[in-house]
Amino acid sequence: MVNNVTSYSGNGLRDWLLQRVSAYVLGFYLVFLLCVYFLNPSIDYALWHSLFANIWVKLFTVLALLSLLVHTWIGIWTVITDYVKVTGIRLLKEAIVMLALLTYLVWALVILWSM
């Protein structure tokens, strides 16, 4: 057993599972956005505003944002722990990634709920 406190869940199986589930959510969200893009001849503010005013679109977007956080955290954490062997630099990089991801999440939530 190898312990690690900076991995997303601390459990390899749970991280692995979450990364796969979040990949599906992100995949579906991407398809949804592409459909919006290609099914509308022109995309303007009014369309964008009415789209994100819909509660289901909001919920789907929040789900996609959470998935992005989880998926990226697990993925980037794996890359960092593979390649960065100096403890101080590794912790710094992990902290930057995690804080950036949390900032993006909160920022996106603020934007989403102000529309």
Binding site: N3, N4, T81, D82
Partner: protein
């Protein structure tokens, strides 16, 4: 009448930490019988005998059973004793197994490799009372061990795995994980739950990214990636 000969070119990694500041590649030309094929190990032994007896390599059985002479041949890990010269492009570049510390020339320190093997408890564990004679196994259950028990621990797979290069102290590696599954799959072993439980951390199993270098190089034709997949499926079944 003397036998017709041909020249085979080699580039061999040399490093003696007591003498050399840095590793270097040394060229060798070897005369071999033109109308016969020979194994790479025999050629290396000929070079050692006839040209430079300081060249270090591990070997024992010479027939792909002991797993001692795993080396990197033209960029691909394999056993020198079962690799025919005819299958190799010249100059034949021979290096030690990658990712493991070099002791001398082609001899590597396998401590980390065997430490990972030790972690998976490579022996039968059974807490049921001892039978009078022996633990029996049905032919069907015995068949489940085919493709698993044949591993000779030559380390060709683990030392071709980038995840093992980066985390040889944390990731069990393909060889160890193949054996982990070998004991999980054994009907005579009653510690499946504990064995799986010991492997659920983010490194031991889950550093495998499934690139299948291990499957590509295994000289015994085994499939560690599949065994790792089986371990993951069993974990999913037991722990979700």
């Amino acid at each position: 009448m003397s036998e017709a000969m041909k020249t085979v070119k080699f580039k061999i990694y040399r490093y003696d930490p007591e003498k050399d500041e840095k590793p270097y590649m040394q060229d060798f030309d070897l005369q071999v019988p033109a109308n016969k094929d020979m194994m790479l190990l025999s050629a290396i032994i000929d070079i050692k005998d006839g040209q430079d007896d300081s060249l270090a390599i591990r070997r024992s059985c010479r027939e792909g059973v002991c797993g001692s002479d795993g080396v990197n041949i033209n960029g691909r890990n394999g056993l020198a004793c079962i690799t025919p010269l005819s299958a190799l492009k010249q100059p034949i570049v021979i290096r030690p197994l990658p990712g493991l510390p070099v002791i001398k020339d082609l001899v590597v320190d396998m401590t980390q490799f065997f430490r990972q093997y030790e972690k998976i408890k490579p022996y039968l564990m059974n807490d049921e009372s001892l039978p009078a004679k022996e633990r029996l196994q049905s032919p069907a259950d015995r068949k489940k061990l085919d493709g698993l028990y044949e591993c000779i621990l030559c380390a060709c797979c683990s030392s071709s795995c980038p995840s093992f290069w980066w985390n040889p102290d944390k990731f069990i590696g393909p060889a160890g994980l193949l054996q982990a599954y070998r004991f999980v799959a054994d009907s005579r072993d009653t510690f499946t739950q504990q064995r799986l439980g010991d492997l659920t951390d983010p490194f031991s199993v889950f550093r495998c990214r499934g690139i299948m270098n291990c499957v590509d190089v295994c000289p015994k034709g085994l499939n560690p990636t599949k065994a790792i997949g089986e371990l993951r499926s069993l974990m999913l079944r037991e722990q979700t």
